[in-house]
Amino acid sequence: MVLKSPLHKVHEKMGAKFTEFAGHMMPLYYKSIKEEHLTVRKSVGLFDVSHMSNLWITGKEAEKLISFTTVEDASRIKDGMSQYTVILREDGTVIDDTIFMHLGDKYMMIPNAGMNKIVNEWLNEQAEKHDICASAEDVSRDYVILAVQGPKSRDTLQKLTNVDLKTVGFFQCRYIDIAGVNCIISHTGYTGELGFELQVSPTALAEDLFYKILDAGEEYGIQPIGLGARDTLRLEKGFILAGNEFEGGRTPLEATLGWTINWDHEFIGKKPLLRQKEKGDYERLTCLLCIDRGIPRHGCEIQKDGKKVGRVTSGTLSPCLNKGIAMGYCQPDYREKDTVLDIIIRGKPVKAKVVKPPFVSKDWLKTKLGNI
């Protein structure tokens, strides 16, 4: 069964071309992936990301449950703050990456599309197993999630609220009225641009809000943006897509997410991670920028002098750079910055060099405009 977004008819009206992603039918693009991508980088775009999951975590020991099941010590994340983290299996591999928001006496967690049941069940199982007085509730079907992203995103949303959006700092979250709709706003996003995400419930309120945001952003050239551009935008910034980068079982150390780990607390998967950290000889996620012409794709082998040293997990043509870009796991000896490797595309080696993410810097727009 494929689930449609509550805004499906809106997307149809706007001429969306649909795709299926993790059991959800979502817009892939409305006009073109490239055009939508550049609109977000230059101005502002509106995304329906309702395919993502929503869980409420409540109870006396809600904070403890999050601390135990993620690599974050949730006592550090105060009311009105959110955090990006990973949920691990006992063997240290990642079940899902997620953001959680501390809202009063409860937490809203946003696992990936199609992961709501798995994460919800996992959290409740662990709560029961370890006698933690807290529970998770899957409310994904009750929420529409809208993302407003780009240099003009704040100006767009500011027109629709009395709250000074400059007071909603990076990774902060709160309840807010946007165009008369009470929703949860967070200064978060998956594009690397200034942006906000809105959790809207009940879903019946979302259609009107969607159109009001498009109206407010019209003077900035706002466009609705599909999943195609969502993927190229995140990849240009070196952000992880769980389905690709955690495929086959990966630890946060391998995925270069060591920075999310708060080692000073007990969490599921800690022991095997410590062992892996000590050994140090694990493959790591690596960013590659193509030197030759060619577009790397998921599954392409990475070689050095004819020897396999890794595999691509995400690849595309960067609309900003007009070059192929990729993320993949590489053996540790081959990923020093500027190392030149070969990505094998349809049997031919395409030269690419190791770069430190992001592929597209914060200054891209300034530099681009400066060059005109």
Partner: protein, 126 residues
């Protein structure tokens, strides 16, 4: 959405078009194909001089999201390729039947042209 189909060309059911220029078959992809792909960002052109059989993979055309194989509508030797597509692949989107031509093949067996679709037949399948 209705796409353009040129009356004076021949077509395949895999959305290639053929313009017969004497002994040569000029090949490209149709307006329908380019609109399905949207922004074409990469074309891997075939090698001049290579022999190819009808139905074999001639080359690859890529959009941001997908990789599409283009098939040879006729057998023969590849005599010419549109080098412009290496720098500006989007020409295929802008002008699929003219500036966006992909390759030319010296037709080995003229009878292969009989099994190609005419404009009316192609319109029926899109």
């Amino acid at each position: 959405m209705s796409t353009k189909v040129k009356e004076d060309l021949k077509y395949t059911d895999t959305h290639e078009w053929v313009r017969i220029k004497g002994d040569l078959a000029q090949i490209g992809i149709t307006d329908h194909a380019q609109s399905e792909l949207t922004d074409i960002v990469f074309v891997e052109l075939p090698n001049v001089g290579e022999e190819i059989k009808k139905g074999e993979e001639l080359c690859v055309v890529e959009s941001v999201k997908s990789v599409s194989e283009i098939y040879a509508p006729v057998s023969g030797r590849i005599t010419n390729v549109n080098k412009k597509l290496e720098e500006t692949p989007e020409v295929i989107n802008e002008s699929p039947y003219d500036d966006g031509w992909i390759a030319e093949i010296e037709i080995k067996d003229k009878s292969e042209l009989d099994s190609l679709l005419d404009a009316e037949a192609y319109k029926r399948i899109i």
